[in-house]
C-alpha cells in the first residue's frame, strides 16, 4: 500500500495524523465533533511536544508562498489548536451545554 506523504520529511513522525491537515475551520470543527477523546488525546500528545519545531519550520516560509507540505503542516497546527479545547478544558468533543447552539465560521484568512 502506498501512503501519500503530506508533511515535510522533518515531521514524518506526525504523518499518522495527516488526516487532520484540513484547510478550513468548518472541516476541523466537524472532525473534532466526529472524533473520540482517545483519538484527540493521541493527536494532542504527539503534536504538542513538536509544536515549537513545527512553528519554527513554517516560519522559514512566507504565508503568501508556502509549499504544499508546509501548508499541510500549518493546517495540522490549526487542528492542534482545535483539539486543545476538548483535551485541555472540556474532556469531551463539544463545548458543554452547547447542544442547541452553532456558531459557523463563514470566512477566515487563507492560509
Amino acid at each position: 500500500m502506498t501512503v501519500t506523504v503530506r508533511l515535510p520529511a522533518e515531521f514524518a513522525d506526525l504523518e499518522t495524523f495527516s488526516e487532520w491537515c484540513l484547510p478550513t475551520e468548518a472541516e476541523r470543527y466537524a472532525k473534532r465533533l466526529g472524533s473520540s477523546m482517545p483519538e484527540m488525546q493521541a493527536f494532542y500528545d504527539a503534536i504538542t511536544p513538536r509544536a515549537e519545531d513545527a512553528i519554527a519550520f513554517c516560519d522559514k516560509f512566507s504565508l503568501d508562498d508556502m509549499p504544499e507540505d508546509v501548508l499541510n503542516l500549518m493546517h495540522l497546527l490549526y487542528s492542534m489548536i482545535m483539539v486543545s479545547f476538548p483535551v485541555e478544558c472540556w474532556k469531551q468533543p463539544r463545548v458543554p451545554d452547547s447542544g442547541a447552539t452553532k456558531l459557523d465560521c463563514v470566512y477566515e484568512p487563507v492560509p
Binding site: I81, E88, A100, K102, L103
Partner: protein, 421 residues
Amino acid sequence: MARFPKPPEGSWTEHYPRLGTDPVSYEDSISPEQFEIERKAVFKRAWLNVGRVEQLPRKGSYFTKELKVVNTSIIVVRNNAGEVKAFHNICRHRGNKLVWNDMPLEETKGFCKQFTCKYHAWRYDLDGNLTFVQQEGEFFDLDKDRYGLVPVHCDVWEGFIFVNFAPEPEQSLRDFLGPMILGLEGYPFEKLTSKFTYRSEVKANWKLYMDAFQEFYHAPVLHANQSPTNYSKAAAQAGFEAPHYRIDGPHRLVSTSGVRVWEMGAEMRKPMEDICQSGLFGPWDSPDLGEMPVGLNPAKCDPWGLDSFQLFPNFVVLFWGQGWYLTYHYWPTSYNTHLFECTLYFPQPRTPRERIGQELAAVTFKEYGLQDANTLEATQSMIESRTVNEFLLCDQEVLIRHLHHETAAWIEDYQRKTAGV
C-alpha cells in the same frame, strides 16, 4: 469592596437616574406585537451598520445584504466616482430581485460594471440609473429616468457603512453617533484587515443576546471551566468589576481592565496558550498600532482589557487592549429569533507564527461564544413562560437596563410622532 471607584452617586446605575434601580420586565423580548413596533420605530429609523469599505475594494465591487427586520434586501456598491451607494435590490420592471446567485434568499457579493436583471435583462449602472430596456419600443411612454433603482440613505464613518431606511433620516449619521462614538476616530481600522467571520441563527430575541455581551458579571462563572482551576478560582473569588461604564445618547460603553497572563505562573495558563503565545485577549505580542484615539480606555487601565461599544440598536464594536477588534451584529428575524454575526479583525500576519497566534485567539473566541449563546434559548423559552415577570439587575448589568430603556424610548417617540397621522 469596590476595586474601582464608582461615581459620586454610589453606583453606575444611579449615575444615570432615569434608568431606575427597580427590577425589570423582559416583556419587550417575548412579544410578537412589540417586535412589529420595533421594526418600524427602531430599525426603520436608526442608522444600521451593514459592513465595511474593505468589502468594496474597487469601483464596481458590490455585496447584498438580506435585512428581514426591515423586510428588504439591499445592494451596497462602490460607484465609478468611488463613493459607496445603497439601493433596494429590486428590478423596477416586474419586481424580481436584481442581484442574487443560485439561492434567491442568500447574500452574494462580487464585481460588475452594471447590474443586469436575470428576468428580462433590464440594466442599471452603478448609480442605479436604468440604462437599458429590452425591446424598449414595446413599452408605453417609458421614461427611463423615472425608473432607476430605489436608493437607500447610506453614509460611511471610519470605514463602517451605515444605511437608514427612513424616508428622511431624523439625524445625520455623525449626529446619531454622538461624541462618545466619534471619540474613536483615528483608530487604525484600515490596518486590521485579516478577518474571521462567524454566523449563528439564535433562538432568542436580539436584545437578550446583546444583554449577554454587555455585562461581564457572568464571566467568572459561565466561563470558569475554560481556564486552569487556579485561575478560575482566583477569578471567581475576585468577581467582576468594570472600571468604567458610559452611556451617551442611545449608545453604551463598558471598559475592562486586563491581565498579563504571560507574567503569571504557568499553572494559570493552558499549555496551548504557551505554545501559541496567545489566548482570548489576543496574541501576547501586540502590534504597534500607534497612538490610540482619546475615546478608548477611559479609565486609563494598565493593563487594559477591552472596550465594548454598543451602538444602538444592534451593532457592537469591541476593542481589545492587545491590538485588534471585533464587531457583533444582531439581525432580528422574528420576536424570538435572530441572526448573529461576528467578525474578528487582526493585522495581516507577517509570519506563520503570528498567524498561529491569531488562530488561537479566534478559536478561543468561538469556544466562549458558544458558551454565551447556549444560555439564550434556555432563557428565551423560560421568559416566554411568563412565570416570572420581574428580574433583578445589579450595578455591573447597568447597560442591560439602558438597552431596554432606550428601545422603549424610541417606541414612545415613534408613537408620539405618528399619533393622529
